[in-house]
């Protein structure tokens, strides 16, 4: 057991998939030219006022219900005051003392298969800031306010995570969940899903939390793991040399794989939070909350449990297949065509299909190989038209041509030979062509059996039914 225990809490920022911003009617689409999606409200013009996007509220409630949290019947937007060029009003509108979601939890599965419950302190709504631009602007800083006012839900965990791996597992779990709920596209490259990690270490067996550092700018699962591991090592080294960890905000530099100090606690802003007088408290009644609850889809954990019991899958396979709503739906579409073969379907979806998608960086919903097509291929394995080995070749052709399994099988003449007489004819020819080997086999050289199998397969271009061939060959050679 290590002498040090790591304690981690994550603050995940998920961009809500609303069409317009949280307090203005501007579009939230990614990638528009700078400031093309910044209205007077987003620019913080004199006299303008925020109006809350009801869709963002609905999405936050959806999240809260999915993590079994308490939905606040009254939540309040506050102003977080600080000066920065990408913050047009000089304050960010966020929820502070009265968040919309409080006291939820999510389960993660550890490496040893144990299930661990991670507490979620709160989730609150807020607006994103804009961006400063430096590239191609020598001597000045450009400001792009397209992102300013984009709705975010910040999901704050309890300090329940004990390793970088757990942190990643939790973050992935949240990532899966928000996409299930269709409240966030989860796109980490575009910054739609990112996190800050509060990391501290303490002596194993003690309960008092160590001094923490807040790691910023973690926008991939890999960075989260690396940044935390680097930070834990850094803090342990400091403590072991008898020095003190300083409470500070640290930035993760993915190029160097290290964290470095941004600002210390003393330099931290006094945000002067106070309730935003331009916005009324968000008051939700039970009827509204129940109405949102009725829109909840089957959640990942529920779905995985159902897959395991309904389709007889291992917990691991059920977990993989329910990793996204699209993948789970695809799998179930395949199984619907082949109700007797849920395991075969699982193997193919997680095996050949996943590999092919992965290779070309495609999503399962891309439509490249519809579930019915894959089912058509698997059906030909089941009815012994082709062998599993041939099926992999057929799959490749289907993947590149988009043809159906039967079309490929017919066009390439891959139909398996199951006619006993036909197989016997080939066996006879092979035996006639190889009298020496036949004599050796009959003299007791058993391992030449494989030679005869290979010769028959070669002669039939691999199409002879393997089981039948074995049986017939054994009889003939005897």
């Amino acid at each position: 057991m290590s002498a040090w225990e790591t304690v981690i809490g994550l603050e995940i920022h998920a961009q809500l998939a609303t069409r317009s911003k949280i307090f203005s009617g501007s579009a939230t689409a990614y990638g528009a030219p700078p400031n093309a999606q910044a209205s007077l409200v987003d620019l913080g013009y004199p006299g303008v006022l925020p109006v809350l996007n009801a869709q963002a509220v609905r999405m936050a409630v959806k999240l809260g219900l999915a993590i079994n949290a308490r939905i606040a019947t009254q939540s309040v937007f506050a102003r977080k005051n600080y000066f920065y060029p990408d913050l047009p009003k000089g304050y960010q509108i966020s929820q502070y003392e009265q968040p919309i979601v409080a006291a939820g939890a999510l389960d993660i599965v550890l490496d040893d298969g144990e299930v661990k419950r991670i507490g979620i302190t709160r989730a609150h709504l807020e607006e994103d800031a804009g961006k400063s631009l430096h590239e191609g602007l020598p001597g000045v800083t450009g400001i792009d306010l397209n992102r300013a006012g984009t709705p975010l839900v910040e999901i704050v965990s309890e300090p329940d995570l004990r390793s970088a791996k757990e942190a990643v597992a939790y973050m992935k779990k949240v990532h899966t969940l928000v996409r299930y709920l269709e409240i966030c596209d989860g796109n980490m490259q575009e910054g739609s899903f990112r996190c800050d990690a509060n990391v501290s270490v303490r002596r194993s067996g003690t309960s008092k939390l160590g001094t923490r550092a807040e790691l910023k700018n973690l926008n991939s699962f890999r960075f989260v793991e690396r940044a935390i591991n680097y930070e834990v090592a850094r803090q342990i080294e400091i403590l072991e040399s008898g020095r003190q960890v300083v409470q500070e905000t640290r930035l993760y530099d993915p190029d160097r794989g290290e964290t470095r100090s941004m600002r210390s606690k003393e330099e931290a802003n006094d945000y002067r939070y106070f309730p935003d007088p331009d916005l009324l408290p968000v008051v939700l009644d039970e009827a509204f909350i129940e109405q949102v609850r009725a829109t909840l889809p089957e959640l990942p954990d529920q779905k995985a449990a159902r897959f395991a019991s309904q389709y007889g899958l291992s917990a691991y396979d059920a977990g993989v297949l329910t990793g996204s709503r699209e993948l789970a739906a695809y799998y179930e579409d395949v199984v619907r065509e082949l109700p007797q073969e849920p395991k075969l379907a699982a193997n193919w979806v997680m095996g050949e299909l996943a590999a092919a998608l992965n290779k070309e960086n495609l999503e399962v919903g891309c439509g490249r190989l519809p579930a019915a097509r894959l089912a058509g291929l698997l059906r030909r394995i089941c009815d012994q038209t082709i062998s599993g080995k041939i099926a992999k070749e057929v799959f490749e052709t289907m993947w590149s041509d988009g043809a159906s399994a039967d079309a490929v099988i017919d066009a390439q003449g891959l139909r398996q030979i199951t006619d006993t007489a036909a197989i016997e004819r080939v066996i006879d020819e092979v035996m006639a062509r190889n009298p020496a080997q036949l004599a050796e086999y009959r003299a007791g050289k058993d391992k030449l059996f494989g030679f005869f199998v290979g010769q028959v397969m070669k002669a039939t271009a691999g199409k002879a039914n393997p089981a039948q061939l074995n049986e017939l060959l054994r009889r003939k050679l005897a």
């Binding site: 007077l40 620019l43 913080g44 013009y45 004199p46 006299g47 303008v48 006022l49 925020p50 109006v51 809350l52 102003r79 005051n81 000066f83 060029p85 047009p88 009003k89 000089g90 304050y91 800083t141 400001i143 006094d270 002067r272 939070y273 106070f274 007088p277 331009d278 916005l279 009324l280």
Partner: protein
């Protein structure tokens, strides 16, 4: 032709509809008065001559075609705190000296929609922070009753312009008394509606939970007409209230007999000038004669209004004014060295002393370690004051008392002592803290200077307070008095 300027807004609107005169004639006449008195009163920051004449000509065409609205062709002015598309909106500050709004405030759009013709933007205390209209970057406004005196503030430009009959009516805003106090000091009628009655969209924010747009006019009838056209729910303002706007004009003749009037004991305190008190008491007698029943009521927490206000308003202002940073609009300092220099010099050079004082105060009361002691405590006291009003309106229909402790004071008399200046709003702030509608009407003179009577009603009782004001104006003529030289 002359003499139009002494007509009330109601009369001018009727005259236009009856085609007794044209909007162009009217606008020309008022523009001439504005020009003639600008040097003396400094009531305007911008005069929109060409635009006004073009709009007047269009109004005349609409009147001829029979497609006229309630205010078609009527000249008005907007306090320079309301954003006007294509016309400079300065808020009385160097910070916005170069600011041309790309949109109309809802109030501006509504009045435009009703046919009103804007003649210009009126002078005001910088960012509406002040009670004397002396803090404007464009110089102090002067009181038409005596140019050595202040007109009150912050809507002093609108008040002086209406009092001097440079315009028949003007918009204004009231955060702690900025409509009612200048109305009292200039001898005109002003109404601050219920918080949420008039949209704040496009009204440059000072203290968002207190700011409310309203009007300054010669009479309660004029105020009813103007307010009816500019009030109403606005989806762009989350704090505006979605409740129908009554026809304030139609409600003016509501009988007064039996009206239960509460006299605010806390308003008749030792700070109230004896002569002022006398005028107010005389006005209350008139109400008694009209059939009102007067009783004394007490709002024990009301004396805490000023300290509460001077925590809440600066706190909100410190945050609201953060957007003036020299980055996207407004004043920007020359050759900033770096970001901090850009911020500190743009703001340091762009804002005046009073605005800075309030930003500093507000920043302080919201700071870690002080928030609970100041801001939170002030909000709690505000709740107590609200409760006092609610209790009072359980037994009376309206509350009456003085609008201000004294008549107009001399320019420069209080600028060096912010506290005495702040105390000028002692009787008006309560209605802002509680979000209540309140009017000030002229009720007599002290040494040639007008005195105001304040009428405060429950939420959304604009029709009631206006009809009560109108009843008084039917039997008195204080509201028809025009400062010497402006008749």
């Amino acid at each position: 032709m002359s003499g139009w300027h002494t007509g009330t807004l109601t009369e001018l609107a009727a005259g236009l509809r009856a085609r007794k005169f044209s909007s162009v004639e009217l606008v020309r006449a008022f523009l001439a008065r504005i020009d003639a008195n600008q040097a003396t009163l400094n009531a305007f920051i911008s005069v929109t001559r060409e635009q006004a004449l073009a709009e007047a000509a269009a109004a005349d065409r609409a009147l001829a075609a029979g497609g006229a609205g309630a205010l078609t062709g009527v000249p008005i002015a907007h306090k320079d705190i309301f954003c006007t598309q294509g016309v400079r909106t300065t808020c009385g500050s160097r910070m916005l000296d170069n600011f041309v709004a790309p949109y109309d405030a809802t109030v501006v759009a509504k009045l435009k929609g009703a046919g009103a013709v804007m003649l210009g933007k009126t002078n005001m205390d910088e960012f509406a922070m002040g009670s004397s209209s002396e803090t404007s970057f464009y110089g102090p406004v002067r009181n038409p009753w005596n140019p050595q005196l202040v007109p009150g503030g912050s809507s002093g430009g609108s008040a002086a312009a209406v009092a001097a009959r440079l315009i028949p009516g003007a918009t204004a805003t009231d955060t702690g008394g900025s409509i009612r106090q200048p109305a009292a000091l200039c001898g005109i009628t002003g109404i601050k509606p219920t918080y949420g009655r008039v949209s704040r969209y496009g009204m440059i924010a000072f203290a968002s939970s207190l700011d409310q747009g309203g009007v300054l006019t010669a009479s309660a009838a004029d105020a009813a007409l103007l307010l009816r056209e500019m009030a109403g729910f606005d989806a762009n303002d989350s704090t505006s209230v979605d409740t129908p706007v009554p026809d304030y004009v139609a409600a003016l003749e509501e009988p007064l007999a039996g009206l239960k009037v509460g006299l605010l004991r806390e308003f008749f305190d030792k700070g109230l000038d004896a002569h002022n008190e006398q005028r107010v008491r005389e006005a209350l007698k008139v109400y008694e004669q009209l059939g009102a029943r007067l009783t004394e009521v007490s709002l024990p927490n009301l004396p805490l209004s000023v300290p509460v206000y001077y925590v809440v308003a600066p706190a909100e202002c410190s945050s609201n004014l953060a957007r003036f940073d020299g980055v996207r609009f407004g004043y920007r300092c020359e050759n900033p060295r770096d970001l901090t220099d850009l911020y500190s010099r743009s703001r340091g050079e762009g804002f005046g002393t009073e605005v800075k004082r309030r930003i500093m105060t507000g920043t302080y009361v919201l700071s870690a370690g002080y928030y609970d002691a100041y801001y939170l405590k002030a909000q709690r006291v505000r709740q107590l004051i609200n409760a006092d009003f609610t209790r009072a309106f359980g037994s009376v229909d309206v509350l009456m008392g003085p609008t201000t402790p004294t008549p107009a004071f001399a320019i420069g008399a209080k600028t060096s002592d912010p506290i005495t200046m702040y105390l000028n709003d002692i009787y008006t702030i309560g209605a802002n803290l509680a979000g209540l509608p309140a009017v000030s009407i002229p009720c007599g003179f002290v040494q040639g200077l007008p005195v105001g009577l304040q009428i405060v009603g429950p939420h959304f009782s604009e029709a009631r307070v206006l009809s009560a004001a109108h009843a008084f104006q039917r039997v008195t003529d204080w509201h028809t008095r025009v400062p010497p030289g402006y008749a």
